[in-house]
Each structure stands twice: as structure tokens, then as C-alpha cells.
Symmetry: C2
């Protein structure tokens, strides 16, 4: 058992003379204790060996209690209004009695220190709503690593009783491929442009979407949004049919007017009913598991080298020689590999 | 020595009773024999063990003769006109006496079977120009693997005497990060939008660019392109200064009118002179080598598992159990890892 954060928590428990045990930790987690959930996610993200042991136990304990949620990915270019959409949509969900967890995968976060959800003040109402758990993007060295931890977080959130998981990402690259590999429903937010609506967002990302929602459909923009929606509907007709047999709706919404949120929610409910009936919902999760089996294995294999101080020091030495022009990068990779395989 | 293609080549040589040797192959390569270059790149891309041995020898032989080119990355969203730009720009370069190699990194290619440069007919003039070598995107299981092979191709093209290497990719995700890690100059092609010029292309990709070029600046579009260029110039001023100390120009061009190509070329020449003088050109290549050292090593380590039929069969078995719900993806990864470490 470890992690500095968890230590503090144990400290608090000890005041009541309660000895730490995984069972007592997990009991608090499944009661929906948000502080405990938050601490457990920190354990998941930790690179400390003892934390990783605990993380594994937590996931194993959570798995049988997980799965009873709808996992919704939300993407769109910067400026499309993801935060305000989640603020507005999240309120609707909690008003209906749902418990909502908001996670994020933000590839720029690890590089720049910024984070999509780092600033909870951007979701002022949601962040103080007791039925909502908001977690900034996981830390990690690689996008794959960050994504893997986010996926593991889903299981703990579900075990803690959250039945709607929203996963936010920026719609510009590889990250939504990862999000798509862990959500049931993929929501693409779009702005109504002026003519070139289909540009900007990669076709591949559009093809992943289970719903397109045009944001900021208010004021002067309302008519433009309706026109854009029609253009998207026509475009979507040309895409190959989805394996889920789901017909992708194109909707408009306004976070300012709180309009269109009911329709988005009805679409997601409709998707859930349809795909649970035709078997896709369960099938899709199985396909995702297979993807993540490989990702997890890849991480484990690479971690032997890249998670070991000794090898990182050897790497640094070879990097220096490459930099000085003494050897090529190919020779350096060969040297290290031979040393590693000993 | 191997690869089916190379076998055929040897066949032809044998008619002249010439025995195969690496030296004779390499002699033909450095004489700029395009058929031999093409065959050698096929060897690089091959996953056969004997081909990989030959590939390593080829790269080692090529390295001392490589580096004497300018490597130019060209990116932009689908529809921006990359092929027509390369057709027009490539002609200018060959008219000036350069030998031009056109390579590609297309992440969608491996999934969909399509390829940016698969259809050479899109570059009708260039493809029959004897001073030009066009190669479709490398085949490969992962984007990183495809990119690594493209980088290795650069060295062979340079050894074959090509002094301008153009590397094309689609400007929508992770692939341009890889391209950026292997080129000296990164050219971002853009369309003049209607107001929302800065949307669509991720800011991070824009920050990588050494020049922005607005395409299709002809006819009715010419004025719009000039306005867009001014908007981009203003936007770029807000970006942090580049390590190269290079001031990023914003240009316009038309592949139809063949206009603006001289200016693009002058920018690249200016960049080359400036950064060779201030040391960035060489420094940048060293930084890139260090990045690729890690990529190559990662590939080698993973290949032990993912390149071995035996382990792939074990993986398939575990995938089946995950699919059937018998075990979790985490347990499956654990099982495989334990077997692998055996």
C-alpha cells in the first residue's frame, strides 16, 4: 500500500484508529466517496512500484462491479465549446438522477503542462455538484499511457457508482482514436462554418462519430447552424453504414440557451436501446478489450527498458555519442538492444 | 541477400553473368539507378529476416554518403492541393538541376489500402521526369513503423544522389509529428477559408511550420488568399520564437498559374543559409537522431513479441478468452507477459 495521497488518507482514518485494508478502502470507494475515488485514481497514475501493485488490486476489485454505465466520448476542435457543453449537458443528466464522472485525454497536457480540465472553474456549476466527479487528464509520458490510465479510471468510477462517464478530448489528432477505443458513444461537437463545414475535422474522426452536434446555435448563429446541420446530414449519407447499424443524427444545441440538450440525451438513450438489442453494445466493448489487451502488453514490455533507471542511463550515454557524431542512431539502437538482451 | 524483387533484379544481372554482391548493388544505387533504388526500398520495408539483414547493410553503406540534401516536409488537410503543389514545385526544382525524391507518410494508407502517392497519375509530369523518384507511402503495421521506414528511405535516396527530398503527409494528426522529426524544413499548405482561417489545423502543427503557403491563390480566390495571408502573419507573430531563429514567412501560390513557387523555393534556400550559419541545421538533425534512436529501440524491443508467430498465436488465444468473457484484458496481458518472460 502506498502513494503519498493515500498516506494522508490513512492518516485521517487512523485518527479513528481504523487500520488500513484494501477491503475498507474499496468499501468506501463503492459507497461513492469522491475523495477516496480521487485518491485511487492518483494511485492508478503513479509510476511507483508499490502504487502499481495497489493499482492492480484496485482494478481487479473494481472490474466485477464495473460496466454498468454509458461511456460517452466528447470531442471537437478547440473553441467549439466542449466545457460549456459538458456543463450544460451534465446538469441535465444529474437532474435526471444520474451520477456523472468527467474524465479527459489531452495529449497537449503532458507537453505543455496545461490541461483541458485542469481548470475546474471552467465548469463552475458542475464542479460543485455533489453528483459529479471531475478529473483532469491523467499524467503520463506517452499518449498511449495517458489513454490507458484513463480507461482504467473508468472502471473505478463505475465501481464508485457513476453511471454516465464523459470523456473529453481535443478533436485534432490521435487522441480521439484512443477515446473511441474506450467509449460506447462518440459525440463530435462542431461549429457551423461558412461554407467549408466539412473541412478541419478529419474524415476518419467524422466516421467514428455516433452523433454530430453543432454548438453555439443561438442568436445570429442559429440559422447558420441549421443550414450547416443539413449539409452534414447530406455528407453523412455518403459514409459507409456503421457496424452498429446506428443512423448518425445531426443535432444543434446552445449551451447559452440550454437548448438541444434533451435531444442529445434522447439520441444517446436511443443508441443504447438499439445497440443493446442488436448486440453491438456488448460486441463493441469486447472489441475494445482486445485492443487494450495489446496496448497494455506493449506498455509492459517496453517498461522493462524505459521504466528502469539503469537502462535510461545507458540510453543517455548512447544518445550523447550519437549527438557527438561518434555513431549513428542505428548503431546506438543496436548497441543498447544487445546490452539489454545481454 | 533476398526479397523477391531483388531476386528478379539479380536474374537480370545474371544474364550478364554478373554475380551478386552488396558492392555491385550499392555501386548501381549511388549511380542513381532508380530501379535499384526502388528495389532497395522494398528491401527496407520487408519484414523477412533475410531482407532485414540486407536492409541493415544497405543503411550502413548509405549513411556515410547521406545528409547532402534538404529534406522538406509538406503537409496540409485533404483538398489543400498537396499533389498539384508538388507537381508544380518539383518541376521548378528539376529545372534548376536538382534531383527530387518524393516520399510519403500516410497513416490512413495501411488501414484503408489507399495511399497518398499510390496513384502516380496525380503527378503526371513529375512521374515521367527522369530527375524525379516518386515512392508511395511505406507499408507497415503502425504509424511509427511506417515513419521509421520512410526515414531510412531518405538515407538511400540521398546516397543515390537525390538532393531534395520531399515528404508528403496529411495534416490532421500524429503523422506530421513524425515527418517533422525527419525533415529540415516543414511546409504547411493551407486553404484560404472564410473567416475561420485558424481553425482546422491544430495550433501545434502550425507552430512546427517553417513556412505557411496558401494554395489556390488564383481567379476569384486570389484576393481572399492575400487577406488570409495577412491574418496568418498576424497570428504567427503571437507564437513563441523558433529555436532556429527563423522568421516564418506566409506565402501564397497557385499550382494552376505556376505562381508563387519561386518564392517558396527562395524561402527554403534562405532558411538553409540562415540555419547552416547559426548552427541550427546541424543541431536539429542531431536532435532528430536522438528521437529516432528511441523509436528504433522501441521497435526492436516490441518486435521480439509482435514479430514472432509463436507469440502472436498465444496472443490470439488470450484475445479469444477475453472475447468470451472468461478473463479480463488486464489478466490476459498479465498472462502473456508472464509467459513471454517465462
Amino acid at each position: 500500500m502506498n502513494s503519498d495521497h493515500l498516506d494522508k488518507w490513512i492518516g485521517r482514518r487512523k485518527e479513528r484508529r481504523e487500520n488500513f485494508s484494501l477491503v475498507s478502502l474499496f468499501t468506501l470507494l463503492i459507497q461513492g466517496d469522491i475523495t477516496v475515488l480521487s485518491t485511487c485514481l492518483t494511485v492508478l497514475e503513479s509510476t511507483r512500484t508499490d502504487d502499481q501493485v495497489l493499482a492492480k488490486q484496485l482494478i481487479e476489485s473494481a472490474l466485477p462491479l464495473s460496466g454498468n454505465s454509458i461511456r460517452i466520448g466528447i470531442t471537437g476542435v478547440p473553441g467549439v465549446g466542449k466545457s460549456t457543453f459538458i456543463e450544460s449537458f451534465g446538469k441535465l443528466l444529474t437532474d435526471q438522477g444520474h451520477k456523472v464522472a468527467v474524465l479527459a485525454i489531452d495529449p497537449s497536457s503532458s507537453e505543455n503542462g496545461g490541461s483541458i480540465l485542469g481548470d475546474k472553474t471552467r465548469m463552475t456549476e458542475l464542479s460543485v455538484n455533489p453528483k459529479v466527479f471531475i478529473r483532469p487528464t491523467a499524467a503520463g509520458a506517452t499518449l498511449g499511457g495517458v489513454a490507458r490510465k484513463t480507461r482504467e479510471s473508468i472502471y473505478l468510477c463505475e465501481a464508485a457508482g457513476f453511471d454516465v462517464i464523459l470523456i473529453e478530448t481535443v478533436g485534432v489528432g490521435q487522441s480521439e482514436t484512443y477515446v473511441h477505443s474506450m467509449v460506447d458513444f462518440f459525440l463530435l461537437l462542431m461549429l457551423s462554418g461558412a461554407g467549408d463545414e466539412l473541412q478541419g475535422i478529419k474524415r476518419g474522426i467524422m466516421e467514428m462519430a455516433d452523433a454530430l452536434v453543432i454548438t453555439k446555435a443561438d442568436g445570429d448563429n442559429e440559422m447558420k447552424s441549421k443550414i450547416a446541420a443539413t449539409a452534414y446530414k447530406n455528407a453523412i449519407h455518403l459514409f459507409p453504414p456503421k457496424k452498429s447499424n446506428w443512423i448518425v443524427p445531426v443535432l444543434t444545441c446552445s449551451s447559452i440557451n440550454n437548448s438541444g440538450m434533451q435531444e442529445v440525451n434522447k439520441s444517446i438513450e436511443g443508441f443504447s436501446i438499439t445497440t443493446k438489442a442488436n448486440g453491438w453494445f456488448a460486441e463493441h466493448r469486447k472489441i475494445q478489450d482486445s485492443f487494450w489487451l495489446k496496448e497494455t502488453l506493449r506498455d509492459k514490455i517496453l517498461n522493462e527498458f524505459f521504466g528502469d533507471e539503469k537502462w535510461l542511463a545507458a540510453l543517455e550515454q548512447q544518445e550523447k555519442m550519437v549527438y557527438e557524431g561518434a555513431i549513428s542512431s542505428f548503431q546506438a539502437a543496436d548497441n543498447l538492444y544487445k546490452q539489454f538482451k545481454g
